[in-house]
């Protein structure tokens, strides 16, 4: 299966929730030093639920499309639910096989989210 398929390209070209929030409760940015991709996530949290989310940054199709999909997935979810999201959840969401290099592109958004919300600084799937 080709990694450059329709759904990913749609998210890349018209990302959901792209931008920043004026007064976010949580704002965090990280990069993937391997490729220089950079993603920032802004969250508005109300009653422990994610009320609004925006992301911005630059990167390849995989990292931006995965971040865009992730913002759709977490809106309205509780912080605890977000904390439970795993590497496999992201891979299921992206829906295409990825090699060991590009997998980090897909996981960058979740890494930013977990680092910002919980101070978890490792790559999803590499905990412990």
């Amino acid at each position: 299966m080709n990694i450059y398929q329709e759904e990913l390209l749609d998210h890349y070209e018209n990302p959901s929730n792209y931008g920043t929030l004026p007064n976010p409760d949580i704002s965090h940015e990280e990069d993937n030093p391997l490729c220089g991709d950079q993603i920032r996530m802004d969250l508005l949290v109300e009653d422990d639920k994610i009320k609004e989310v925006r992301f911005c940054g630059h990167g390849c199709t995989i990292s931006l499309a995965a971040a865009s999909m992730l913002t759709e997935k977490i809106e309205g979810k509780s912080l605890e639910e977000v904390k439970q999201l795993s590497k496999d959840d992201i891979l299921d969401m992206v829906g295409i096989p990825l090699g060991p290099v590009r997998i980090k592109c897909a996981l960058l958004g979740l890494k930013v989210l977990k680092a910002g919300a919980y101070g978890i600084n490792c790559w999803p799937g590499e905990e412990e």
Binding site: N2, I3, Y4, L9, E13, L34, C35, G36, D37, H58, G59, C60, T61, I62, R102, C105
Partner: protein
Amino acid sequence: MHTAHFRPLDVESIRKDFPIFATEPPLAFLDNAASTQTPRPVVEAMDAYYDTYRSNIHRGIYRISEEATEQYERAREKIAQLINAPRTRQIIFTRNTTESINLVAYSWGSANIREGDEIVLTVMEHHSNLVPWQLLAQRTGAVLRFLEITDEGLLDFTQFRDVLTEKTKLVAIGHVSNVLGTINPIQSVTEAAHAVGAKVVVDAAQSTPHFHVDVQQLDCDFLAFSGHKMCGPTGIGVLYGKLELLEEMPPFLGGGSMIRSVERDVSSYAELPAKFEAGTPSIAEAIGLGHAADYITQANLAAIHVHEQELLKYAHQRLKEIEGITLYGPSAPHQKMGVISFNMEGIHPHDVAGVLDTHGVAIRAGHHCAQPLMKRLDVIATARASFYLYNTIEDVDRLYDGLCRTQKLMTRRKQ
């Protein structure tokens, strides 16, 4: 490079030595600046070691160990010939260019660099010829100074006189930039550096595989390169050094093989080159590297260079046809080697490489271990195609076609 007498490369027969190209359509492998493919004769030489005389070298008192020693030392002679080293013992086997440079930084650097001394580098260095000097500067209090490049990607030589002073103890410079392909004028650099009493370390990882590097002509003090970028295996690299320097230098790694005699508290060290080859070395890999040197010498380095220049010229011409493409580095092919870094407007280089991969074209994308250069070029990353003796005009055409398709796919709605 002058036009020596040579037969043009017989690319078709060369390609038969590389089983990886046997598929249809063949893989268009354009990531040779990172690592090259390995021809059958090199693999067979390593197989012969494993199949018929596998043993440790040097002190074995039996036939196959003697043969292993002979073949290992024969490889050293071949490498000495390849770069015209005056003495075979000036060739130290390491793991790769990075280890060779670290050897100099730790051994020569720690013994010779003091607080306030200056180490001159260029902004186009690969991290392997930058980070070891940063570490040395941090250990000693030395200062790093940088030579800049022009917008064309050439070394800014006018600035050299200002940067080079009697404080300069070392100049560390790449022979050929792994990103821009720029060929640096090493002879002029060594002349200027020696005039102020500084030593010169040359990172020849991108030059030795592609044209005839002559250490006596360059007059450099140290020169480092890797086997895996010149048809050899991974895990073997070379450090060349001037004899008087290598002889004065303290050991780098301690252990077996590098000693003459060992007491409880002190040891005396072996002669060159053993002094710098502690522990069992990469025996099969050294033998493979010797055969890789034979392979590119028999193909003829002058012919390899001409072939790559033809591919480079053609690729420049084709790639420039693509709208929104930016090529980095010298625009005149004769000022550079077969390396083309580029970006396509609005498309991340990872996506360029990703789409090309789906069309059987392998290129590299990223910062190419040259982050300061990326900053100087004001880019996050680039895509890079690089050539070697087995590449063809068809490979370049496939690159061009792949780039056109990439553009079509990635900018569908923006048009």
